[in-house]
């Protein structure tokens, strides 16, 4: 099956990375905010405090008049400016300063913020921050600064940071997605090659880019492993080919000698015996040939001969071939063959597989049984099935039934090599088709489900 982007570990890593990245970006932005905007407001406060300290010094040295004079001078320099000065009597009536009246907000000594109406700009108010101190003798002093600009800066900065943060996050997310997709693509190429190999194409190798990066190294290691497997499999094949060849040759010779002996034998009783011997040799040879053929199919070397094959046609031919055999056992074969059940495959192997299934159905079902051959077209692909209402195979033996030489105890007396279903299984595997043995209640139902799409096929177990 294909990997889904959001379920991959690279994507999760990317998400964790985005989280970490976002946290550090937020910390950084917070730091910048504190050191810039915070610095500006601290600076304002320090200027105000310094001015107050200066004025308090004036007051101590020159009394109220001195302070009033200084304030008047400064207010004159700053009629509507950024600095706020106001000296008031104990009843908070204005003595001198650039404010018309004592602001309502300044109740207790300490820091206070308030709005000042600007007569020049008609109702426009600006924000000021001031320190309110009580001088000895009950006089009130208010020194402050216009912080409107500063606050505007602050809000501007906060919104810039919010946008910046959001943009960073979005970019990190996109970057993470792209990165994990790039990684995923490389993993997917390796997976695709693996699937081809599992399906039998052992000559395939993992693609490399030649960059020598970790994926290349992984691919190269896998390739080295595959080379090793191929060598081992070649070794096994060689051994089994040798065994088959070594045993087949004397068997062949045995058979030819028997045939030669039969030709020159006049005694009919002797000829009959030789005929039986030849039949025995043939049975041995046919088992050998079946084994070798299965081995050959499993080696997957026949995929080159694949073409579009109409399963209905294959099934129709097999039914036609076997119908007389079934009729001799008073069995009926019902064919329900949907057209369009086309699979990519090897015509001869598929024909042999279907023939084997029909052969089994007829052989293992009693007289009068009903056999059904169907082809259907499902969205996933064409399906071919052969079902009978015979004794079936108990559930616990169904997995074993496709193994070589497996035969149910009850069917030992029936002729056969025990290789029929093994061959069907090998053919199914070669075609990437799913072979299933099911309960037909009563009887056995064997289905071969093909994948329509070539390449993205499921891997049969």
């Amino acid at each position: 099956m294909r990997l889904h982007l959001f379920r991959t570990s690279t994507f999760r890593f990317a998400l964790v990375y985005v989280g970490l990245f976002a946290t550090s970006a937020l910390l950084l932005l917070g730091f910048i905010y504190v050191t810039t905007a915070g610095y500006a407001s601290r600076q304002t406060d320090e200027v105000i405090l310094a001015q107050i300290a200066g004025l308090a010094e004036q007051y101590r040295q020159r009394g109220l008049d001195g302070v009033a004079t200084t304030i008047a001078q400064r207010a004159a320099r700053n009629p509507r400016g950024h600095a706020v000065y106001l000296l008031a009597d104990p009843a908070r009536r204005r003595i001198v300063g650039n404010l018309d009246r004592w602001p309502r907000e300044a109740v207790e000594p300490g820091w206070v913020e308030f709005l000042i109406e600007d007569p020049d700009t008609q109702g426009e108010a600006y924000r000021a921050r001031a320190q309110f101190v009580q001088l000895a003798g009950g006089f009130h002093l208010l020194v402050g600064q216009d912080v409107q600009e500063q606050q505007r800066h602050q809000t501007l900065m906060i919104s810039a940071m919010a946008w910046g943060g959001a943009l960073t996050l979005a970019l990190a997310l996109i970057g993470g997605l792209l990165m994990s997709r790039a990684t995923l693509q490389r993993v997917e190429t390796i997976n695709r090659a693996s699937r081809e190999i599992i399906r039998g194409d052992l000559s395939r190798r993992m693609p490399t880019r030649g960059t020598g990066d970790e994926f290349d190294q992984l691919a190269e290691n896998l390739n080295a492993m595959l080379d090793q497997i191929a060598r081992l499999m070649d070794g096994i094949r060689q051994v089994s080919d040798n065994i088959a060849h070594d045993l087949r040759t004397p068997l062949t010779r045995l058979r030819s000698r028997l045939e030669a002996a039969r030709l020159s034998q006049a005694d009919p009783a002797m000829r009959a015996t030789i005929d039986e011997l030849i039949a025995d040799a043939d049975a041995l040879l046919s088992t050998f040939n079946a084994l070798l053929r299965i081995a050959e199919i499993e080696a997957g070397r026949r995929r080159a001969a694949f073409e579009a094959v109409d399963l209905a046609e294959i099934a129709r031919d097999a039914v036609e071939l076997y119908e007389p055999v079934a009729q001799d056992k008073r069995q009926t074969i019902a064919a329900d063959l949907a057209s369009g059940a086309v699979a990519k495959g090897d015509r001869h192997l598929l024909a042999q597989a279907v023939a084997n299934l029909l052969d089994n159905a007829i052989k293992y079902s009693p007289e009068g049984a009903r056999i059904a051959v169907t082809t259907t077209v499902l969205p996933a692909g064409p399906v071919l099935s052969v079902a009978d209402n015979g004794p079936g195979i108990p559930a616990e033996f169904r997995d074993k039934a496709v193994r070589r030489f497996f035969r149910l105890e009850t069917s030992r007396s029936t002729p056969g090599t025990g290789l029929g279903l093994s061959l069907v299984s090998a053919v199914a595997k070669l075609h990437g088709a799913r072979l299933a043995l099911e309960d037909n209640a009563p009887g056995l139902r064997v289905t071969l489900a093909f994948e329509q799409k070539q390449g993205g096929a499921a891997i049969p177990i």
């Binding site: 045939e259 053929r293 001869h348 007829i362």
Partner: protein, 225 residues
Amino acid sequence: MRVLVIEDDPDAARFLVKGLKESGHVVDHADNGNDGLFLATSGKHDVMVIDRMLPGMNGLAIIEALRKEGRRTPVLILSALGEVDERVRGLRAGGDDYLTKPFAFAELLARIEALARRGEAETPKTTLVVDDLKMNLLARTVTRGGRSIELQPREFRLLEYLMRHAGHVVTRTMLLENVWDYHFDPQTNVIDVHISRLRQKIDKGFAQPLLHTVRGAGYSLHPPR
């Protein structure tokens, strides 16, 4: 007829040569590819049996060389290779038939005789006649002794193949390959069942049977002797 056998295995060669001679044929034998090709180019053989794997020059190369020279002598390829693709490769190289070892001698004999006949009567026929059995290939009708016989399409093809090889042995494998296009041995001998059906239709109710079983080999359709 004159048969050329190119086979390196001495046992197999002796068996083939002996069998063919006993069946009344003249046999030449070569045990390697080079001698084989030399004999084959003499052009005096009716049919050749060539092993796929030979010392000197392999069987397919010999066939290709012969075909390039324009020699159409029918060739039966023998092979120990179990590979199914080998058959296709052999026929593509110019072979006319392919037989996997081990084989029954009767099978080989039936096949090379069929191959040798192929060259003889290649004039298109519209009717096939064996004794009083007549097949009209155009109307696709069959009669015996004037009586019409109903045949299924596959039975028609089976009978047609038997009639085209009338008087000769036809093996079960030959029938499977040529009538059903099946290139494997079915577990059950299905051919026997089809033959017995056909026999029911063409021989039942007639004094003389035409379709005969040849023990250890196959079947033969021929007039009463």
